[in-house]
């Protein structure tokens, strides 16, 4: 027989129904049953009271828990918001720091005035390119460019115009070389261009073009138009030669160009 939580209650109801169905009732029997019925009813009512109290208490607790959860959720939302703001601050701080680092990196590697590579970085590039040639056996040329009579510009127009002339010169040269070429300031008015994968014949063409560009595009300054010319020396890397030696030969070629009247290209 299947068990039910309300077996007793059901039994009393069945008894009552049987009694009512009877044709004739003994008043004694009815009185006896009523006593049992009232007893059961009283218990039922007490149990109901108890259950309602229990349910109410549980519901109350549920409501409290719900309210606490809502408050907690609110707090969490606020915390999440704060964290997000913190994160954003952090991200923008990181971005700012990256920008500063990038600036520092550029400052460490570039010439402050002309923004082309400084001597230190240029020599590093040269070492790298020389090493690369050992692997690839490709041609490598180096140009040394020296602005002619630069001291005269400084003396005649002042250092501000001298600086302008240097910047103008680097702009012109930059526009005449390839992306893979490395352009750097070696000091004063002396510059270098590394030409990877370039033969001496090709380098000669490039140098002549640069010389001509510099000559044609004079500096337009507040002090008037100033003609600028450049003397260029070229050297091609020899087998087993060091970067230092290569510079020395290109430099020597550049001095030859100076001696031969300036505004010209000489090849070592």
């Amino acid at each position: 027989m299947e068990f039910s939580l309300f077996d007793k209650e059901k039994k009393i109801v069945e008894q009552a129904e049987k009694l009512i169905a009877k044709q004739e009732c003994d008043p004694e029997e009815i009185r006896d049953f009523l006593a049992v019925f009232i007893d059961a009813f009283r218990r039922c009512y007490q149990e109901q009271k108890c259950l309602i109290r229990i349910s109410d208490r549980l519901q109350e607790q549920l409501l409290e828990t719900k309210k606490e959860l809502l408050i907690k959720t609110d707090q969490l939302k606020r915390q999440a918001k704060d964290l997000k703001a913190l994160n954003e601050n952090f991200a923008s701080e990181i971005a700012a720091r990256k920008r500063i680092e990038e600036k520092l990196r550029i400052m460490a590697n570039r010439d402050a005035l002309t923004k082309v590579y400084n001597r230190r970085r240029f020599l590093e590039f040269l070492e790298m390119e020389v090493k690369k040639v050992k692997r690839t056996n490709k041609a490598l040329c180096l140009m040394i460019l020296d602005i002619d009579k630069f001291k005269n510009i400084n003396d005649q127009f002042g250092h501000a115009v001298g600086d302008q002339a240097l910047c103008h010169f680097t702009t012109v040269v930059s526009s005449g070389i390839r992306e893979i070429d490395v352009f750097g300031r070696l000091g004063g008015e002396e510059f270098g261009v590394i030409l990877p994968e370039t033969s001496r014949e090709e380098a000669l063409v490039v140098a002549e073009r640069l010389r001509s560009m510099v000559e044609k595009r004079g500096l337009i300054s507040a002090m008037g138009n100033i003609n600028i010319t450049v003397s260029i020396g070229i050297a091609e890397l020899r087998a087993g030669e060091s970067g230092e030696r290569l510079i020395a030969r290109a430099d020597a070629a550049m001095y030859v160009a100076k001696q031969n009247g300036r505004n010209r290209v000489e090849i070592a």
């Binding site: 299947e2 939580l5 007793k8 108890c50 259950l51 109290r53 229990i54 349910s55």
Partner: protein, 127 residues
């Protein structure tokens, strides 16, 4: 009579009815999927046991952490059986254990005890 030993599950309490010694206990949480299936056999066995009018003391320890409404009705049926047994001459006591911080379980125990006429219902605070 065979003892009843039911291991606790997520929704049902541990039940340990040792009918030889008269030590009966229900501990844990009670919100079974089907209250009749879980408490039916327990109630039936208790009923049979109490009908034998055991001549030793019957001690029932109840320690609930949570129970739902139908489990509350099942507990009331158990207490009713015990109450009737005491009326019929059996020596029995129910000990309602509740955690000292658990006001709700304390109140529920007090509510249950109000309905009993013969059975002694002891409140036992646990630290």
């Amino acid at each position: 009579m065979e003892n009843i030993v039911i291991q606790p599950s997520e929704r049902t309490p541990e039940v340990n009815f040792d009918f030889v010694s008269g030590r009966l206990s229900i501990r844990g949480e009670a919100y079974p999927e089907n209250v009749s299936t879980f408490f039916g056999p327990v109630l039936a066995a208790l009923h049979t046991y109490l009908q034998t009018k055991p001549d030793h003391d019957v001690i029932m320890d109840i320690e609930m952490e949570y129970f739902n409404s139908s489990s509350a009705k099942a507990l009331m049926n158990i207490f009713q059986l015990m109450d009737e047994a005491v009326e019929a001459g059996v020596q029995a006591v129910v000990r309602w254990h509740y955690n000292k911080d658990d006001d709700i379980m304390q109140e529920f125990g007090e509510d249950f005890s109000e309905d009993l006429r013969f059975l002694s219902f002891e409140m036992v605070e646990i630290d």
